[in-house]
């Protein structure tokens, strides 16, 4: 079995990459994708811990896997709403550059 540290490092890297993308990429769709990467990092954790606990306590523990499934479904809903919102903002602003969408401030 792959040691747990490897998994943790992997998911953390994924999470940080996603977070970096959210604050640095200009394109709203890319930002959306970065959020998905962050969510998936968490999903990897969930699945990984699920199998880790099953081994540790020698009882099958499905909580993490079910949770991951749910979170994928939720992420899908979020993407659907998010894309619709990006579409409507594109109609008003003629751009999906997030740093150009800033009439609400101060």
């Amino acid at each position: 079995m792959i040691p747990i540290e490897y998994w943790l490092i992997f998911s953390s890297l994924l999470f940080v990459i996603g977070a970096y993308g959210v604050v640095s990429r200009k394109n709203a769709i890319v930002v959306l994708m970065c959020i998905e990467i962050m969510l998936n990092a968490a999903n990897i954790n969930l699945v990984m811990f699920s199998s880790y606990h099953s081994v540790l306590h020698t009882v099958p523990d499905a909580t993490g896997q079910v949770f991951a499934l749910f979170s994928i479904a939720i992420a899908a809903a979020e993407v659907a709403v998010g894309l619709a919102i990006i579409l409507s903002v594109y109609r008003r602003y003629q751009t999906i550059d997030v740093d150009k969408i800033n009439i609400l401030r101060w």
Partner: protein, 652 residues
């Protein structure tokens, strides 16, 4: 019945809300007078029902119904209802005078236009909080309402706030009474410290009295009396009351003669169970009362403003009540007799009726000719028959001529003071002051009446009798002024009635029969001394002010005119305060001002500048870029991580 007593303040409060909040067109007649009258009438009816229950022996002094508003740990703020004979007495006074004054206002305030709405709103609010004060079952609740009546009084004195004198009088009244309020508050804080409760039920029990050390009890009761000094305009804080005459006359009648100024007397009477543990405080109370009575009466001798004469007379009569309560406490302690207590509260009720009557008559006169100055009046009796007649009744009552109400109560007060002289000879001196005051009262009252109604007009005016809506309340009050003295002999007798409210303090005192009381009054030579003095006073006033061509300048020449000037300047007390304020306080305030301007303001401005600018600076961070927000979240997370992982474990 008594469990509904909490509704009494609610009715006028609802009226207040309606008048204050309803759209203008639904206010109907006289900008809301209808709601005011309806509200006070409902309270009047309910008050009378409550009083009837009390007359039948019901009281509400144990397990009083409470509405708990706030509870933190072991401290709770509750609103409760406490009904005993003293409460009933105050309910009678406030509800009757309140209703009559509101009705009378329907005529008196006619010219005020837009301001009437404010007037009715404020006066119903006042009546509501005054009821609240009277039915309080703990000192804290009483204090809250105490402040609220002060606030209403402030608003109503300053009713004509465009007038600088009215505005400053309002401020003055508020500030001066605040001095008393602070003492009151200090007093109840001391009580709370030792007893841990402010409920009357707990405080008035024997165990509570034991819990407070004697010197602290003296201090606490003296401080509570300090509240009464402010509210009831006792020496040396009495100067606000004459100034308060800047308000409408109806306000003077209701607040500054019949109800609010009685709150101080009520407070002293209410605190009897505490006061009898501190005879020193009682002596203090009596001396202040006696000094106030005679001092105010002398000033009234020389006043020319009809309302000011009445104001000083009010102060003087309040002094009488306070004196009676002080002496009454001695009688309770040493003679086991409720005589003084009953006499003072009896005088409180009678005075409320005849002084409200006198003020409303004065209002009627002012309404008719438009001036307060008695030197410009004269001969009004022919034009204003009802007013002059009712005012004559009031003047006879206050002068103590039988069978009018003032005779009975004033005589009882003086008898009580004389009686108390057996236990402390200071009371003989106080009795002498009281009897001189009685003489002066008769004199200045008839001076006022003769100057106003008798003789020939001293200026051009077109007087007319006031409308029915004003004269009917006058006649009702005149009826009360004539008859209220006889409650001394109705049923159990007034004395017996009041006696039961301090029953716990009397250890099996004998109940005097009505015949005894009457016999005592008419066989006591002192009765005839005071009666003779009152008649002499009236005669003297008639001689001086009604004889054509009588040379009155002899008074102004007496003592090289110093006395006259001293009286006209109100014994320079007001001037002393002003000078004191001007020289000392102003000097202090200059220093404080400098401090304030350069140090405090500097700090405040600095903070405001800092605050405003920090606000603005942080605000600029919010530049509308959503990625900036996300980065800030990340920065926040990093800082928090550093904090919880490194800084906090290192520190702790």
């Amino acid at each position: 019945m008594l469990e509904y007593a909490w509704l009494i303040p609610v009715f006028p409060f609802v009226a207040f809300l309606l008048i204050a909040l309803l759209p203008k067109r639904t206010l109907w007649w006289e900008s809301g007078a209808v709601y005011a009258i309806a509200g006070t009438l409902c309270s009047l009816v309910l008050s009378m029902l409550v009083v009837w229950s009390v007359l039948n022996g019901e009281t509400l002094t144990t397990d009083t119904p409470k509405f708990k508003w706030l509870e933190v740990g072991d401290f709770s703020l509750e609103f409760g209802v406490w009904i005993d004979q003293l409460t009933a007495l105050m309910l009678v006074v406030v509800s009757i005078v309140g209703t009559l004054v509101v009705v009378y206002s329907g005529g008196y305030m006619r010219e005020e236009g837009e301001g009437r709405r404010r007037y009715y709103a404020e006066i119903t609010l006042f009546i509501s909080v005054m009821f609240g004060l009277v039915i309080s079952d703990n000192y804290l609740q009483m204090f809250i309402f105490w402040e609220l009546v002060g606030l209403c009084s402030y608003l109503l004195i300053g009713f004509w706030y465009e007038k600088p004198s009215a505005a400053s009088a309002a401020k003055r009244a508020f500030i001066v009474t605040r001095v008393g309020d602070i003492m009151f508050m200090a007093g109840i804080i001391i009580l709370f410290k030792y007893v841990g409760s402010l409920d009357f039920e707990t405080l008035f029990s024997e165990s509570a009295a034991v819990a407070v050390p004697t010197d602290m009890m003296i201090l606490a009761t003296a401080l509570i009396f300090g509240g009464a000094i402010g509210k009831s305009a006792q020496f040396p804080l009495h100067e606000w009351l004459p100034d308060a005459m800047e308000g409408p006359t109806t306000v003077s009648a209701l607040i500054h003669a019949a109800t609010m100024v009685k709150a101080g007397v009520y407070l002293v009477a209410r605190s009897y169970p505490l006061l009898i543990h501190a005879p020193e405080s009682l002596l203090f109370v009596a001396v202040i009362g006696g000094v106030t009575a005679i001092l105010a009466a002398t000033v009234a001798l020389a006043a020319n403003d009809i309302k000011r004469v009445l104001a000083y007379s009010t102060i003087s009569q309040l002094g009488y009540m306070i004196l009676g309560l002080g002496a009454g406490g001695y009688l309770v302690i040493y003679a086991n007799s409720p005589g003084g207590y009953a006499a003072a509260t009896f005088h409180l009720m009678n005075h409320a009726f005849f002084k409200a009557l006198l003020f409303l008559c004065a209002g009627s006169v002012i309404h008719a000719i438009g001036t307060n100055d008695m030197r410009l009046m004269g001969g009004l009796g022919k034009k204003m028959k009802i007013t002059s007649l009712t005012m004559l009744i009031g003047a006879l009552a206050i002068s103590g001529i039988p069978p009018f109400s003032g005779f009975w109560s004033k005589d009882e007060v003086l008898a009580a003071v004389w009686h108390a002289g057996e236990f402390d000879s200071v009371f003989f001196l106080l009795w002498l002051m009281g009897i001189v005051t009685a003489f002066m009262t008769a004199f200045y009252m008839f001076r006022m009446w003769f100057m106003t109604f008798a003789g020939e007009p001293r200026s051009e005016y077109h007087a007319h009798e006031s409308p029915r809506i004003m004269t009917v309340p006058l006649m009702i009050l005149a009826g009360l002024a004539m008859t209220s003295g006889f409650v001394l002999f109705i049923g159990d007798g007034f004395k017996g009635f009041m006696e039961s409210s301090i029953e716990g303090l009397l250890h099996g005192a004998e109940h005097e029969s009505l015949v005894d009381i009457a016999a005592e009054i008419f066989t006591d030579p002192l009765t005839y001394v005071s009666l003779t003095l009152a008649v002499v006073g009236i005669m003297l006033a008639r001689k001086i002010y009604l004889t054509p061509g009588f040379d009155r300048s002899m008074f102004s020449r007496g003592f090289n005119g110093k006395l006259q000037r001293a009286l006209e300047n109100r014994w320079y007390i007001s001037k002393f305060y002003d000078d004191f304020a001007v020289k000392v306080v102003y000097g202090l305030s200059l220093i404080a001002d400098k401090f304030d301007r350069y140090v405090i303001d500097g700090l405040v401005n600095g903070f405001a500048f800092l605050g405003g600018n920090t606000g603005n600076f942080i605000r600029r961070l919010q530049d509308g870029n959503v990625q900036r927000y996300a980065s800030l979240i990340l920065v926040g997370i990093c800082l928090l991580l550093i904090l919880v992982l490194y800084i906090l474990p290192w520190g702790g």
